[in-house]
Symmetry: C2
Subunit: 331 residues, 2 copies
């Protein structure tokens, strides 16, 4: 296994340590080694914006901590939820007295730990409200939205929520903006290779040579179908065929498109995929107002990509456009 | 081969097309489909900054076209030099009447084509001067600097040259700054897996499971040694042991550090490597003034990383710090 690590059980510690050394102009450690905050947090009177999730998805989650972005992040083990204590400490690190918006993804561990952390915060008088991202159309049918996982759409939710908080929005306004963001967002992934957690030592699932898995989750959760690999244009068409009817998106819509590699996909191949996505959206009279193409939400060294499309109204457009600075996203 | 492409022979066309669609606020096509320029180029009175190289290294080379960055880029086939015509057309696209600085890497094809393009430009009265990057310490001994390849140090050379041009520097001043940048820069790579050009269909070289190749080039050029994989800290120490004595760097130096993944390396593993690099430089009293950790100069889906260290004086420090906007690098 040709990877870069010291002790396989201390990869998160080492990575967080390196991240803090690299970006000490922007972020800082807290008393909890699994919580990182933007240096300027907490800001008095501003709603704190918190997220958290497992490691191995870099730049998610910690890379979206920044100025006018996420204020504090709870860092989990690789592909595992952060602890309730880490979420709670992230709430405290970001709390400027106006409450905390915890914007996270719909996974069992995260749900449980956030719920506990919200109770811990309530006891200390910190108001925390949550939005749970569920943008992955492949993870459950449309009539079971609450079962759907959160994937790269979370990034757009964070950007929107954080921008609303930076504008001076109240906790309810931040929550409403973030909820609207994710409600108008749909994603799907295609996996072309598995990935390996170093401490486990073997791939967490299999994808055969010449096959791809449509709808795969960020931890190798089964997708909706396994099929022969297709030309990029057909991959793009298929992703759009899952995403567009689900909301549904329609002619005249303005959208943001986020196309993320899963880790090992060459950047030029993401642009090959984007080329077709932009072409088809143009044909359908859906206008791309913001786009993000790159490694925004990865799964270690998985090969493949996720497509995220968000329908914009004036508020979402304005909030996405607002300047922000983080390692994962600069506007 | 589970990759994202349509016609394997048209991958560059498709990727360039997608890149132009994604970033049409910043860059634009030219009459030569293999030349991309920043929208604002040419700027009257400003020295044009040009680079070029093979595709498959994204965000290099085209991703470094931007505001106060590279003005125009010549795009080659995957792992192949752009044509002389493409370099020439890039010179014309960036020429604002103050001459053009062509800052590129030391490869046989690029040398030949740039040389021809410079002659073509001279016939049209466009003054072009060149700097050839040769930062890869593993590619030739120190007494044969002219044989060394250019690798990720090129990015710092482009940043410095482009910033000097943006400041209003003359062609000679831009060339002098870029030459000083690369003269003070040293790099080395470690390869952990090979990569595959889709049109070829099999890996361009082999790295065995459990082995790594120290000093590997961006196209699989042989390194200085193949050995068993080592813990990240030992990889970092080894990279520094090649890079630091070569210039040499010494206590009291201020430096920029660029740690780039080769394509498939999980971002968290780059931070694990950076953690040790920053630690050792600290112990050696070498101060990191700028750092860049991420996928800055890749080789398709190769696993591994390159370390680049640049010694700074006040001018280089100032030029690296100057704001700039490109897909690959934002300051």
């Amino acid at each position: 296994m040709n990877r870069i690590f010291n002790d396989p059980d201390l990869m998160v510690e080492d990575a967080v340590s390196g991240y803090l050394k690299a970006h000490d102009d922007l972020v800082s450690a807290t008393t909890n080694p699994r919580v990182i905050k933007v240096k300027s947090a907490p800001k008095a009177g501003k709603v704190g914006v918190v997220t958290g999730g497992g490691s191995g998805h870099e730049p998610a989650f910690l890379g979206y901590v920044g100025e006018d972005m996420v204020d504090a992040v709870a860092v989990g083990e690789i592909f595992s939820s952060p602890t309730a204590q880490a979420f709670f400490d992230a709430f405290k690190a970001s709390n400027g007295g106006a409450g905390v918006a915890c914007l996270y993804g719909n996974y069992a561990g995260d749900n449980m730990n956030v719920k506990m952390a919200v109770k811990m915060a309530a006891k200390e008088g910190i108001a925390v409200k949550t939005v749970v991202a569920n943008d992955d159309v492949a993870s459950a049918p449309k009539d079971e939205l609450a079962k759907r996982r959160g994937v790269a759409g979370e990034i757009l939710m964070w950007k929107v929520g954080a921008a609303r908080a930076a504008e001076g929005g109240s906790l309810d306004e931040v929550i409403a903006a973030a909820q609207k963001a994710i409600d108008n967002t749909r994603s799907i992934g295609i996996g072309l290779s598995p990935c390996t957690i170093v401490a486990v030592g073997h791939p967490n699932f299999q994808i055969k040579d010449g096959e791809m898995e449509v709808g795969i989750g960020h931890h190798g959760e089964p997708g909706v179908s396994v099929m022969k690999t297709k030309p990029a244009a057909e991959m793009a068409d298929m992703m759009l065929d899952y995403v567009l009817p689900d909301l549904p998106f329609a002619a005249g819509d303005k959208v943001a498109v986020l196309l993320s590699g899963l880790g090992a996909t060459p950047i030029m191949e993401l642009y090959i995929l984007y080329n077709r996505i932009a072409e088809v959206l143009g044909q359908k009279k859906i206008a791309i107002k913001h786009n993000f193409v790159g490694n925004y939400f990865t799964s270690l060294e998985m090969m493949g990509a996720t497509l995220t499309v968000m329908r914009l109204d004036d508020e979402l457009d304005r909030l996405l456009a607002r300047p922000a600075r983080s390692i994962g996203l600069v506007k």
